[in-house]
């Protein structure tokens, strides 16, 4: 009964709020009027009676507030009230609200963007049960772990005892033929143990098992597909099971769909189709690498048995490693670069494999540090913004407290407003971060290799963002709230001034400013360092032409033409391309400049430098290649149609190689021989020396390089297909010419992504560009925020000092005296902040040094520029309010006081 009446009262109050208010109002008015009437009856004048009645009743608003509280209205009701009030207050100052939300959105957005990238690339666990039990097993010299060979994996799997099982996995782009159209897809090979070891549950059907990976058999192979592929190709229908896919020219039957959350074991590569290794063995027959001891291409993982620690697993591996390697390595392994001095090692496999993460881990953590600092700057900025706003709200707070609002209520109000700002800022930040992270991924992405990154914000990202928002509320909202509500209402009302308080708060804001100056100086310096470094890198002469050059990949693996017929196919295509309008030159090449690929060779000169051998980089190029790529031929000639199989084996050296082998002679006409264990090339005659051109990286000097003509090299490497290279007036002319040729001579092969040399160059400095562009953006934001902060503070100070300035002007001070005194004050922030910033930069430079190209992290000129930029922006931010101060009319100012 009592509970019921309480609930009823509470419901009535909560639901019928306006009715309760009007009833309460009527009731209290009735009381006052009834009392006044009694007084009138006692002989008091009507007006006087009303006045006395009101005084006797006391503060009507306070009674109402206590009444609401007594009815249980207060908690929900007053929260709603505070919320509404807060909205109104924020709406009343749209400029402030907009700036505050923007600051927060920038801080939270950039942090979330960088963090979700770090999370996706480096931190996120594979979506499998107990991912922490997974380990990578690698082979390689200490510090350079890499893939295993097939025999290494098989012997290891036979002997090991600390894992429930091992599996091998290799990502391999493949060609899917659908209705006669071929197109590239992302695919992977897996051993039959992969899915059982990962403990994955199928989305549909079943996943691959051991019997799917058995060699030989009926030449029927099974495959599993990703959920995205299933939706795209089979409209998510169960009928997909049992369908046949034509992959790399062979058939495989779909037996199941992988769960949506599983995107392979490599974070940036989501296979659409996973096939058993047996498929590869059947497809390639004798040339398959599955059981080839000299080919390392299997990424091996294992799942530790429950209760087996990492240390024990490691000890177990060390115990069997000797025998495994003895059985698995080929006899001549000591003479093969990529097999020599290797050992087996274990590494945690929780997050899967992340080659991209390895490359980008340092730049990304550097960016995370920068955006972390930016977040501190945002908080400091927001705090000073809220503080200066509190000044203008002082009066409002005093009045509210006089009308009966308790201190807790005022603090709650301020905290609610900060929370609203934080929520709005965090929300806007998350939206912004989606956009920013796709921009960041754009810098990471290589044009000929689509990067798959799962950037859906997950719990970690959300926690991170919410953590930042709460931090902001505490730092910028609640602390000033405590500070602001500590006043003596009566004294404040009586004096009508807010002096004592504002000076104290000003001091807090003034302490925050040097910090902002220091942080933004640091961010600006680091941004300039990365920008200058990247600019220098991009201006390096690569040794080949960039403008107008376009690169095309081909996939001729399944073309019927072999041997001489394949060469004829290339000749016909080249002729067709060369004759197309707009194309100036065309050729073929095996290794694209500045790609991650490369061919090793070690060779020695037959004459000249004697038996001394040299490690060389190698490329296989077609006739007319150097003219097409724009690399200068210094001596002799370049390859031409006459360099065919059956002719004298010829080669071309670059200047670095020629200088090594023939330091005192003319290289032309001399011979070099391969010193590789399996001689991959015969002795060849040098017919030309070309200018040095960058091979893998713009950062490294051009390595000694040897070039072989394609038509001669094709005998030694029968299974490789070089790509095409063109020089043309516009990219579109070249693309049209290539498409046309492909369509005429090899219609059933896929068109692979076309890459301009410009893009190739930019991709190769993706890391540097990512750092430069993003840090410049963050540096700019930092400068802007600091200048807004300074501008706000100075404006407010000038307003407060209006009377004083007026007095000084009245007493004869010149305008420039006033200007100077205000600027001097602002300069103090820089006197403190700039050395602080320089000290911070000196510390930070130790971490960024290794990411820079040909610039010292302590480059004095660059830091001078950063300081000057900082001072210029600061001067502008302080000058505007100062100039306003000089316009103060002494009469107006004094009268106001």
């Amino acid at each position: 009964m009592r509970l019921w009446s309480r609930l009823r009262s509470w419901l009535r109050v909560t639901l019928g709020r306006s009715r309760m208010e009007s009833e309460m109002d009527a009731e209290l008015r009735f009381h006052v009027e009834a009392y006044a009437q009694d007084l009138v009856r006692g002989g008091v004048q009507r007006d006087e009676a009303m006045r006395r009645a009101r005084i006797a009743f006391g503060g009507i608003e306070r009674v109402k507030e206590e009444g609401r509280e007594a009815r249980g209205a207060s908690l929900v009701e007053s929260l709603v009230q505070d919320f509404r009030y807060g909205l109104r207050m924020l709406g009343k100052t749209p400029g402030f609200t907009l700036i505050a939300v923007t600051i927060l959105a920038l801080g939270v957005g950039s942090n979330t963007a960088v963090f979700s990238l770090i999370d996706a690339l480096l931190l996120r666990s594979l979506a499998v049960p107990e991912p922490q039990e997974l380990v990578h097993i690698s082979y390689g010299p200490p510090g350079q772990p890499g893939p295993l060979s097939g025999p290494m994996f098989d012997r290891l799997r036979e002997r090991q005892s600390s894992f429930t099982d091992l599996f091998a996995w290799t990502n391999a782009p493949m060609v899917l033929t659908e209705n006669g159209v071929a197109r590239p897809i992302q695919a992977a090979y897996a051993t039959g143990s992969a899915f059982p070891t990962l403990k994955l549950t199928p989305r549909l059907g079943r996943l691959l098992e051991w019997q799917d990976d058995e060699a030989g058999g009926a030449n029927r192979f099974n495959a599993v597909i990703s959920e995205a592929f299933w939706v795209e190709h089979f409209r998510a229908e169960a009928g997909a099971l049992g369908q046949t896919l034509i992959v790399n020219g062979a058939a495989a039957t779909i037996v199941g769909v992988m769960p949506r959350s599983f995107n392979g074991i490599t974070v940036d590569y989501a296979p659409q189709v996973v096939l058993p290794f047996a498929f590869e063995t059947a497809l390639h027959g004798k040339s398959s690498g599955r059981f080839e001891p000299a080919q390392r291409w299997l990424f091996a993982m294992g799942r530790r048995k429950p209760g087996v620690s990492n240390t024990r697993a490691q000890a177990n591996l060390a115990a069997i490693a000797g025998d495994v390697l003895k059985e698995a390595l080929p006899a001549h392994y000591q003479s093969v670069d990529y097999l020599r001095d290797g050992g087996l090692s274990l590494a945690p496999g929780r997050t899967g494999n992340s080659p991209l993460g390895e490359v980008y881990s340092r730049p990304l953590w550097t960016l995370q540090a920068l955006v972390g600092l930016l977040m501190i700057l945002c908080c400091a900025n927001l705090a000073s913004l809220l503080l200066s706003r509190s000044l203008s709200r002082q009066h409002e707070l005093v009045v509210r407290s006089a009308l009966g609002a308790g201190r807790m209520r005022l603090i709650r109000q301020l905290v609610i407003e900060s929370t609203m700002l934080a929520v709005a800022g965090a929300g806007a930040g998350i939206v912004l971060s989606q956009w920013m992270s796709s921009l960041l991924v754009g810098y990471i992405e290589q044009s000929d290799f689509p990067v798959f990154l799962d950037l859906r914000p997950n719990a970690a990202v959300f926690l991170w963002t919410i953590g930042l928002a709460v931090l902001t509320v505490v730092l910028a909202g609640a602390l000033p709230a405590l500070h602001m509500t500590r006043f003596d209402t009566e004294a404040m009302l009586r004096s009508g001034k807010q002096r004592g308080l504002s000076r104290r708060k000003n001091r807090l804001a003034a302490c925050l400013l040097p910090l902002q100056v220091a942080l933004s100086l640091l961010l600006v310096s680091v941004a300039l360092l990365f920008a200058v470094s990247t600019g220098r890198l991009l201006r390096v002469a690569p040794g080949f032409q960039v403008k107008g050059v376009t690169l095309f990949g081909v996939d001729f693996e399944h073309r019927p033409e072999k041997g001489e017929a394949r060469l004829e196919l290339y000749r016909k295509m080249l002729d067709a391309i060369r004759q197309s309008p707009g194309v100036e030159a065309a050729s073929v090449l095996a290794i694209r400049p500045l790609s991650e690929a490369g061919i090793d060779q070690s060779a020695a000169a037959v004459e000249g430098n004697g038996p001394e051998e040299k490690h060389l980089f190698q490329n296989v190029v077609g006739a007319n290649y150097f003219a097409t790529a724009g690399t200068k031929v210094l001596v002799g000639r370049e390859f031409s149609q006459v360099d065919r199989s059956g002719g004298t084996p010829v080669c071309i050296l670059n200047q670095a190689a020629a200088k090594f082998f023939f330091p005192r002679q003319i290289a032309l006409g001399m011979h070099v021989r391969s010193t590789m264990p399996i001689a991959t090339l015969p002795n060849c005659e040098i017919v030309g020396v070309v200018a040095d051109a960058k091979y893998n990286s713009l950062r490294q000097p051009a390595p000694p390089t040897i070039y072989h003509p394609y038509e001669q090299a094709s005998l030694i490497f029968p299974d490789f297909d070089p790509g095409f290279i063109t020089r043309s007036r516009g990219t579109s002319a070249a693309v049209a010419a290539f498409k046309d040729a492909l369509h005429r001579f090899a219609p059933d092969t896929p068109l692979l992504p076309v890459v301009t040399m410009q893009r190739q160059l930019e991709d190769s400095v993706g890391r540097e560009r990512l750092l430069a562009v993003t840090s410049l953006f963050f540096g700019g934001v930092a400068l802007l925020l600091t200048s807004i902060g300074l501008y706000g503070l100075e404006t407010q100070r000038v307003t407060q000092r209006t009377a004083e300035i007026g007095l000084r002007v009245a007493l004869g001070a010149q305008r420039h005296d006033v200007l100077r005194s205000i600027l001097r004050e602002a300069a103090l922030f820089f006197v403190v902040g700039v050395p602080m910033g320089l000290a911070l930069t000196a510390v930070a430079s130790r971490f960024v040094g290794s990411l820079l190209y040909e610039i010292s992290p302590l480059d004095p000129a660059l830091h001078a520029v950063a300081v000057l930029a900082m001072l210029a922006v600061g001067f502008l931010a302080a000058y505007l309010p100062a100039r306003r101060a000089t316009r103060v009319d002494p009469m107006v100012a004094l009268r106001y006081e």
Binding site: M1, R2, W4, S5, R6, S9, W10, E23, M24, A26, E27, L28, F30, H31, E33, A34, Y35, Q37, A56, F57, G58, G59, I60, R62, V63, E66, G67, E69, A70, R71, G72
Partner: protein, 113 residues
């Protein structure tokens, strides 16, 4: 400070319950009734009456409805509920026992100790 308020509050609650136990009254009427019974010996802050009324109503001791006052105006009348009646009796008993004890203590002479 707080304790004094509590005591006052508790007392005011009891006086209100007593006033409305004699028949439905509006807020002003309750004030007058208390002053009349106490022969003006109690000074009640007029405004503080209403939060007390709302609290009692919220707890279900009294109920209210709108009616017409002596001079034909709309006024809110409060009456005692059954639960309020029981509550008032126990409170009054408690109060009486308390005052007896306290009076006895205060009235104790040195030789009686």
């Amino acid at each position: 400070m707080d304790k004094q308020l509590d005591l006052l509050q508790g007392t005011l609650d009891m006086l209100i319950l007593k006033a409305v136990s004699l028949g439905p009254l509006h807020g002003y009427g309750i004030l007058l009734r208390i002053q009349q019974i106490s022969k003006d010996r109690l000074e009640i802050q007029q405004g503080s009456l209403y939060p007390a009324l709302y609290r009692l109503e919220h707890q279900g001791w009294i109920a209210s409805e709108w009616g017409e006052s002596e001079n034909k105006r709309r006024a809110k009348y409060y009456r005692l509920t059954a639960a309020g009646k029981r509550r008032f009796q126990t409170e009054a008993e408690k109060w009486n026992r308390m005052t007896e004890v306290i009076a006895a203590i205060l009235g104790t002479k040195p030789e009686e100790v």
